[in-house]
Symmetry: C2
Subunit: 342 residues, 2 copies
Amino acid sequence: MTKTKKTTIKDIANVLNISPAAVSKALHDDSRISDKTKAAVKTVAKKLNYQPNHLASALRRGKSNLVGLIVPRTNSNFFSSVVQNIEEVLNKKGYNIIITQSNESFTKECSNIDTLLFTQVDGIIASMANETIDLDYFEKIKSKGIPLILFDRGENDLNVDYVGINDYDSSHMIIEHLVDQGCKRIAHIGGYRHTRIFNNRVKGYIDAINKHNLPLEDELLIESSLTIEDGREKMEQLLALENRPDAVYVAADYAALGALQVLEEHQIRVPQDIALVGFGNEPFTALVSPSITTINQHSAEIGKQAALTFLERVKTPGAKQTLNKIIFEAELIVRDSSNKKG
Amino acid sequence: MTKTKKTTIKDIANVLNISPAAVSKALHDDSRISDKTKAAVKTVAKKLNYQPNHLASALRRGKSNLVGLIVPRTNSNFFSSVVQNIEEVLNKKGYNIIITQSNESFTKECSNIDTLLFTQVDGIIASMANETIDLDYFEKIKSKGIPLILFDRGENDLNVDYVGINDYDSSHMIIEHLVDQGCKRIAHIGGYRHTRIFNNRVKGYIDAINKHNLPLEDELLIESSLTIEDGREKMEQLLALENRPDAVYVAADYAALGALQVLEEHQIRVPQDIALVGFGNEPFTALVSPSITTINQHSAEIGKQAALTFLERVKTPGAKQTLNKIIFEAELIVRDSSNKKG
């Protein structure tokens, strides 16, 4: 490596005979700059070996231009798709994204919050861990005046912006569909009820079962951590019942996959003997045999809206604004695992 | 929320009659503290509503206790599993992890490096974007004296620690297997050759084809971005050949999945007419029908070794040490897509 004079934004501006501000905007893909100018700026920047100094520009503006994300895990299509869409929107506005994962652990989530506050993020977009009951740590973000936007797994009590889908209605759509397929004894492997989205799915299940005068029994409503392994375990539990269900609605696709494996091992025909429905539209649900009926959670739209909500908050910091509660209607994707008529 | 006196590590130490240092170690899951003490410390910490001040402790120690990761994307089982294992090792040592993704873009990777340097990480563990040719940005990390460990997609020229698998030998294993199944005309849909791992897979393919005196033709060796879509496109290209291959080795599972979809659409029997092999052991490879033969990349071991290498580097900063080049032997998992004899 040879040391040469460092290229600045001004050098690029001089070559192209435009303002340094325009160069800066072009480098950040600002929508106010034409594609042609952007291309020219990037070509010159590359030629002159320009290296942006993120730290310096952040200090100048008194902000880090970082947005921190907290997700339960990244190896879920839903969460990675939300993250992807948040990045696409915010990168274009000059923000960089750092991701932390809680692995469903409350302690880890607290560390993540500390880490993000330490890195001086301009905002935090989060979906809560399964374990989280105590909200003090999230209050800490609010008390520092840093915008906090929750998606999917949120909490009404926190009184912050929220983007998600209508979980209660989703359960109704699923039960309607199963009733329509002739199912009469429908079990629900649900998530932890202290998590609002899972509680809403359980409430939707209960109300829909009652609406259709179907048996609502303790042994048919099971709480689960919703991992593949726990899906397997809970399905075994249902198969051990004297009076087995003829349909199982599982509140997450990975657990539904575990349940499907167990059904295959017991040589139970799906959907003829037991129909199966998952939740989340993970890509594997379309690929396994039988393919799994599931709920599309609109991850792309959730990601985009979460990002736009953050941008709205930073545009007018401190201003009293109406809270955003953006709820998308979910979509049922009927596949082989529950389609008795096809 | 009512404001109460902030609990300190000293308060916890007083209750348990142990040293504040022991409390701190226990809270960071330090292996020098017994599980019993750790449990006691955590119970008291929770009772007293202790909230660690990450920033303060970092400033005290002159380090952030943050490790930054750069991965091409998080929604890949390989990368998310590596990340998971890095986190498990480093969390236990009191480090927090922040993740950034490049989405295979060089520009984004440069921003990621700037972001991580801005957040004052104690080290960076990275796997390079497909686009990356210019290594100046990675040199920037080195020049700041921050440990840099590369995994999977690395570059010899950078002269830093590296953890990966033996890509060259993996190709040999695959070709041996396909020859053993009676295949005589084997195509390779490979990655960009400027990326070392993909180049090594191509080199392994060429040498193995020559070793077995099989046809090595330009039309059978195709460069690809290895997305699902590009896997589809390149498979269509192979099917359009006058002299079709009887086996296709694809350098990544997602592209292999795209290729499989195209074969099904053309009603070509797999493996009888064309055998198919992927790379990476993504979970869906075991779930689709036919299941896809693939290479297990030992993501867990790679993650652990990358983390341990980082810990070794920070233990004796600045010390001249032999570079670590940890190369795992890959494992071929034979499934239905190439098993003509089963």
